[in-house]
């Protein structure tokens, strides 16, 4: 096996909301350019983990964490510029969020916040991101209409375009298909297959089969603990080597 340094390295990570523990000393890493699937029942700490990685967890009152999370070998807790860290990581939330701006401004929002203002640069970037998110053809004639007025599936692709607009090296998707139709879901999965060539993807999903289709490795997170993390072929095989994993993947968990 090759030994390139991990893109993300999590060590002894624990977290709490107030006194309520979420993660219990979990350790794992994400390799550069892999797709890591994360599966697990609701409330098991998947969203919280993603929020710890891009340091938006600290924006919730009462949230605490210990242990280390490194991105490109740098402890996220001590990065000089947290906004730069967040731009390095694209984040797609479960429910599509069109900002109350035009479609164009939705995608141009992050680059503008980062200081990009040349019209031609922005134009090119907006087009590129909307193409990557497979939305360009549908909206290219109405870039100045409101992003909030798009359909749910379109808004989710707009959200992905926005997450790509600050040219992240890592893309985190949190149950992106929870509120959209199966056809759009498949289109976004095709998008991800393209994107994986260039960036590292963490795919939290409520559809275990989605992880099977897309993820190189899959992590089963349950109750704040990693039950199993292995190549997806293993996790989704008839004999993953862990009874809980088998039960969850085969829908007899309870």
């Amino acid at each position: 096996m090759h030994d390139s340094p991990p893109k993300i390295k999590v060590e002894q990570f624990s977290s709490w909301y107030g006194d309520k523990p979420v993660h219990k000393e979990i350790s794992f890493h994400v390799r550069a350019n892999e797709v890591l699937g994360i599966i697990g029942p609701a409330q098991s700490g998947k969203t919280t983990l993603l929020r710890a990685i891009n340091r938006t967890l600290e924006l919730t009152a009462g949230a605490r964490s210990t242990g280390t999370i490194q991105v490109d070998g740098e402890d996220v807790r001590w990065v000089a510029n947290v906004y730069e860290l967040r731009r390095k990581i694209g984040m797609v939330a479960p429910l599509p969020v069109g900002l109350p701006l035009t479609i164009y401004d939705n995608v141009a929002f992050a680059p503008r916040c980062a200081g990009l203002s040349r019209k031609s640069d922005l134009d090119a970037l907006v087009e590129k991101c909307l193409r990557q998110a497979a939305l360009w053809d549908e909206v290219k004639d109405r870039l100045d209409s409101l992003g909030t007025k798009l359909s749910g599936g379109q808004q989710q692709r707009l959200t992905i375009a926005r997450a790509l607009s600050h040219q992240p090296e890592i893309l985190c998707l949190d149950e992106f298909s929870i509120a959209i139709d199966p056809v759009t879901t498949m289109r976004i999965e095709e998008v991800l297959k393209e994107l994986r060539k260039d960036i590292t993807i963490i795919l939290v999903t409520n559809l275990t089969q989605q992880a099977r289709r897309l993820a190189d490795r899959t992590m089963f997170l349950w109750n704040g603990e990693i039950i199993q993390l292995d190549r997806s072929e293993v996790i989704f095989s008839e004999n993953p080597g862990n009874q809980k994993t088998y039960d969850y993947v085969h829908g007899i968990f309870g």
Binding site: E84, R86, R87, L99, L101, A110
Partner: protein, 307 residues
């Protein structure tokens, strides 16, 4: 249709009129009638006041009435110096309370952590709204007029009004900010926007209608107050150059509509009976106009809502 009322234990078929259903419908009609009556009871005095004022005061009101100073011991002439005084008090006071109130509300809503300090501040704001105006008047007298040495002046009176009406704008602004979905902020933070970028580009633009409403409500409260300005800067009579909007200076004392109304009602003998009604009509119409503007702005912004 199944209509076998032989066994009352089974649930009755829908739409079959039985005593229980009829009673429910009757109750529903009675409830609606009671609520509607209350609306009428609420509106009657309001309409009564307005109609009575306008009918009695209208004959006196004219362009000249608005633009000439009171004369002959306030038994004749118009209300120019009082009208302009109210405008000055409102504008100067707004120049202090609107920015401070809005920015403080932004801090409380967007930056402040939920700790004992913010809770004390919130409590203070709520209680400030409930303090009687006479207390504000005494505070203004002690603080602005005497301690800061502003004397009885437009500045001191405006600051007193500003302190008094600050809770209105803070509360309205906080409500407006709170109505902007949290998911918008999170989406911005996720793409590396700072709090300020998020506030400036997303939160504030979408809270403008609520903030404006708060500011306009504040205006009508300021215009109507009497006691606080009486102690701190308003006078019974003062003649100023007519037609000059800058006839007052910040250090001047001024007349004000609300106080003028009090004066002509209780202190002046020999004034025409219509005079107090005319003053009151002008004051009320001005406030209605301001509030109508607020409603219009809100309706316009609502129809241009972005989500």
């Amino acid at each position: 249709m199944n209509s076998t009322p032989s066994s009352p234990a089974t649930s009755p078929a829908p739409f079959v009129s039985n005593p229980r259903v009829r009673r429910k419908l009757r109750q529903e009609r009675i409830a609606q009638a009671v609520f509607a009556t209350m609306v009428v009871l609420m509106l009657l005095p309001l309409l009564g006041i307005l109609v009575y004022l306008v009918v009695r005061g209208a004959p006196l009101i004219s362009w000249e009435f608005l633009t000439t100073n009171p004369s002959k011991g306030m038994t004749a002439g118009g209300i120019w110096s009082a009208l302009l005084g109210t405008v000055w008090l409102v504008v100067v006071s707004l120049a202090f309370s609107a920015p401070i109130g809005v920015l403080a509300a932004v801090y409380l809503n967007e930056y402040a952590k939920d700790n004992w300090f913010t809770r004390v501040v919130n409590l203070a704001v709520v209680n400030l709204a409930g303090v009687p105006s006479i207390v504000h008047a005494l505070f203004g007298l002690g603080a602005f007029v005497l301690f800061f040495g502003m004397g009885r002046s437009i500045l001191a009176a405006s600051l007193t009004l500003a302190v008094m009406t600050m809770p209105v704008v803070i509360t309205a602004t906080r409500e407006a900010l709170g109505a902007v979905p949290m998911s918008f902020r999170e989406a911005c933070w996720n793409v590396g926007a700072t709090r300020w970028q998020t506030i400036r580009r997303i939160v504030l633009p979408n809270a403008v209608s609520g903030i404006l409403t708060g500011v306009i409500l504040e205006i009508s409260r300021k215009a109507g107050e009497t006691v606080p300005i009486m102690f701190t800067g308003a006078v019974f009579f003062r003649a100023i150059p007519e037609g000059d909007l800058f006839a007052y200076r910040l250090t001047d004392q001024c007349m004000a509509l609300s106080m003028h109304l009090y004066t002509v009602t209780t202190q002046v003998t020999g004034a025409p009976a219509a005079l107090p009604f005319a003053v009151a009509t002008v004051l009320i119409l001005a406030i209605i106009l301001i509030n109508a503007t607020s409603i219009a702005i809100r309706a316009w912004l609502r129809s241009h809502r972005k989500w």
